[in-house]
């Protein structure tokens, strides 16, 4: 047995000095200035034009999708939606720096990452309408996406639960010898949950190749970050766990990409977690159930609207000569049409047959669920008008 010394590296002091706030002032990586110009000496990630265009298009795509879906919710066509306006650079920039085999475990505001992976408008619509074409079978509310073939884990509402799960997933990837990591997204609010603590600490101790990506967007519904924590954001906690950490400007897609690329490399090569805190702002309402005018000022919002991540990338592309304004306009228009068309079309697709109600609780329905289904179907047959969505297909 080797001797252990949990004091082996500790320095000494001989004066009572309680460490106050401030020794942790973790700087924020910013590559592009607000006007899109790179900072002096900043080394941008080496991205080809095609990739940048894909990032830019995805940002535009998501902006359009968000707009349209909020409108659809207002029209009563879908029950719920949750936009990510203002945070597109965080989720899309990070997703772009990953490999397709990396698992994405997200919170709910990462539709950008999903779209970057190739989730189609049709897929978005199927999910939003909870229909039978949706692989998740319409069992959860809108925006709870999940796509196994895209390595995008089905979203779960309880906050923070995916954080220790991501550590476990990544551990499994390592044990299976895969060239893959897990990325785990969450908000600064969710980082208050006990599961955050467990997940980061376990990843550090058990050497899990996972990138924790915190979107610090200033709010958890109505609760501002200052009532969420008193420390130096979320990044400072990473250091406490011995987790390699970086803070980035979440509205600077280049910074996000560069940090994530590096984090992924470290996670994979060194078999360890990396924490990224992306500083951004939730320009959107929390969800379609929320109205932010109750808790924040228009002024504050305006200040952040000026830091729009799409505009920053656009400015950079412009300077680089990569911006084709006309093509972009067409792309946005085409997207708008596509979303509207798919919306209309998918609206007609029925929900799953009622038999699905007892499937997937277990690998196969046990006796009691078979009995409950049988009773239910007999009941529906008796009152078909009361269950119009399923009675036609018993």
């Amino acid at each position: 047995m080797k001797d252990r010394n949990h004091l082996s590296n500790v320095g000494l002091s001989h004066e009572v000095q309680i460490i106050k706030n401030g020794i942790l002032d973790i700087p924020m990586l910013q590559l592009l200035q607000a006007d899109g110009k790179p900072h002096d000496g900043a080394v941008l990630p080496s991205l080809d034009q095609e990739t940048v265009q894909k990032i830019y298009d995805t940002m535009q795509y998501i902006r359009v999708l968000d707009e349209r879906m909020i409108a659809a919710q207002r029209q009563g066509r879908i029950s719920f939606y949750l936009a990510c306006t203002g945070e597109e650079a965080s989720t899309i920039g990070s997703a772009a720096a990953l490999k397709p085999q990396d698992m994405i475990m997200s919170q709910y505001r990462e539709q950008g990452a999903l779209a970057y992976r190739g989730y189609s408008t049709e897929q978005f619509m199927n999910q939003m309408f909870s229909n039978e074409l949706e692989p998740n079978k319409g069992r959860q509310m809108p925006i709870h996406y999940g796509a196994k073939e895209l390595n995008f884990m089905t979203i779960s509402s309880p906050l923070g639960t995916q954080i220790p799960q991501a550590s476990g997933y990544a551990y499994g990837q390592k044990m299976a010898g895969e060239e893959a990591i897990t990325i785990c997204y969450f908000g600064e609010g969710a980082a208050s949950e006990g599961d955050f603590h467990a997940g980061l600490n376990m990843a550090a101790v058990l050497n899990c190749p996972v990138v924790f990506f915190c979107r610090n967007n200033g709010y958890a519904i109505s609760t501002p970050a200052e009532e969420q924590f008193a420390g130096d954001g979320i990044a400072s906690r990473g250091l406490g766990y011995g987790v390699k950490t970086i803070r980035v400007d979440g509205n600077d897609v280049m910074a996000v990409y560069a940090a994530t690329e590096q984090a992924r490399k470290i996670a994979l090569e060194e078999n360890c977690p990396v924490l990224i805190e992306a500083m951004t702002y939730r320009l959107a309402a929390h969800s379609t159930s929320d109205d932010p005018t109750g808790y924040r000022s228009k002024d504050e919002e305006e200040k952040w609207r000026a830091k729009d991540p799409i505009l920053r990338l656009e400015a950079w592309m412009e300077a680089k000569g990569w911006l084709d304004a006309e093509a972009n306009k067409q792309y946005v228009e085409k997207t708008r049409q596509e979303v509207l068309q798919e919306l209309k079309r998918v609206e007609q697709v029925p929900i799953c047959v009622v038999d699905e109600i007892v499937e997937d609780v277990y690998d196969t329905p046990p006796w009691h669920l078979r009995k409950q289904l049988k009773d239910l179907k007999e009941h529906i047959a008796k009152y078909p008008e009361a269950y119009p969505k399923t009675s036609g297909r018993l």
């Binding site: 029950s79 719920f80 909870s130 229909n131 079978k137 319409g138 069992r139 959860q140 509310m141 709870h144 779960s156 509402s157 309880p158 906050l159 609010g189 969710a190 208050s192 949950e193 006990g194 599961d195 958890a220 519904i221 109505s222 609760t223 009532e227 969420q228 924590f229 159930s289 929320d290 109750g294 808790y295 929900i351 799953c352 009622v354 699905e356 109600i357 007892v358 609780v361 009691h368 669920l369 409950q372 239910l376 009941h379 529906i380 008796k382 009152y383 009361a386 269950y387 969505k389 399923t390």
Partner: protein, 325 residues
């Protein structure tokens, strides 16, 4: 009397308690300035200050842990869990702490002043995580009280009684009634008894038992049954723990039949406890098996919500089956 919806009745009770006793503190996620995602705590921060009505960080285990400590100190915490579906991270603090605090310390310390408020239940297109009815998990915890109101009048009277009661109370609010249920509520304070069920309609053929939002369901089913000449006695259990077996058994001895309706999944739901107790106490009076009309033994499904729910039609059918047994 004032016309109020269920949310307003709750808000009213909270204002009254905070006015009466400055040891009362209200907190939880978004309950401060914003007044909670359902607005049950509207205006409390403005009226009583940030020290007595405040947002917490987003941690249910922390909210209840904090509340336990605060209660044991002598303050009167009213903690909100934003959705019943999110109470589970606090389950350890409730099972092992809140409910055992008094017993383990021989009565030296207790969390008796604690009230936990949480919206629960389905029927609002909430899917898995905005629809659950978790009362049965808590009904197996000695030391807790569980209270569920069915309308604004009940809500105010039961919430006031819960906050004043010297035992930890889990106060579950049927969220699909928050705005839908409107009724006359006295402006002044009044308390409705904990642990007492209420017979809301007399009848002779079968007893229908429910609580919270499902009261509407059994009322509707009873109306349908009445057309068939079946006379239903209706009981609102109101308190799940300790529960009023006496009132229920008395009714069953009279009607000879019992149907229990709840939204939560059948297996291990609270209807099983009621059925087990009633069959024991009323064995010789029962003319047919006790029926349970409950949620399916599945997670709460979004698109099949209608099919999942123990609605008035399923209840009506079960009434007929039971009466014609």
């Amino acid at each position: 009397m004032v016309k109020m919806n269920l949310l307003q009745a709750i808000n009213d009770a909270l204002i009254s308690m905070m006015t009466q006793d400055e040891r009362v503190m209200v907190f939880g996620e978004d309950v401060g300035h914003f007044g909670g995602v359902f607005r049950a705590t509207s205006n409390l921060q403005e009226k009583f200050g940030k020290a007595r009505c405040f947002n917490t960080p987003l941690t249910e285990q922390g909210i209840i842990g904090f509340a336990n400590g605060l209660a044991s100190q002598g303050s009167i915490p009213v903690a909100e869990i934003q959705f019943g579906d999110y109470i589970f991270p606090a389950f350890d603090q409730i099972v092992n702490e809140t409910s055992k605090f008094r017993y383990r310390s021989g009565g030296q310390f207790s969390c008796g002043t604690l009230t936990i408020r949480t919206p629960y239940g389905g029927g609002i297109a909430g899917g898995h995580y905005h629809s659950q009815s978790p009362e049965a998990f808590f009904a197996h915890i000695p030391g807790m009280k569980i209270v569920i109101p069915r309308n604004p009048f009940q809500a105010k009277g039961l919430l006031l009684a819960s906050i004043k009661d010297d035992n930890p109370v889990l106060f579950m609010e049927p969220k699909r009634l928050y705005r839908a249920s409107v009724g006359e509520v006295p402006e002044e304070d009044y308390e409705l008894p904990l642990g007492k069920a209420e017979v809301t309609a007399k009848g002779s053929d079968i007893t229908l038992l429910a609580w919270g939002a499902q009261m509407e369901i059994i009322e509707k089913a009873a109306e349908m049954a009445a057309l068939d000449g079946i006379s239903c006695e209706l009981i609102d259990l109101r308190s799940i723990l300790p529960w009023d077996a006496e009132t229920v058994c008395e009714s069953v001895m009279k009607t000879g039949r019992l149907l229990i309706n709840h939204e939560a999944p059948l297996t291990g739901g609270f209807a099983s406890e009621v059925a087990a107790t009633v069959q024991e106490n009323c064995f010789l009076h029962l003319e047919s098996p006790i029926a349970r009309v409950c949620g399916l033994d599945t997670p709460y499904p979004l698109s099949h919500e209608k099919e999942y729910m123990p609605d008035h039609l399923k209840t009506y059918e079960a009434i007929k089956r039971t009466v014609n047994f």
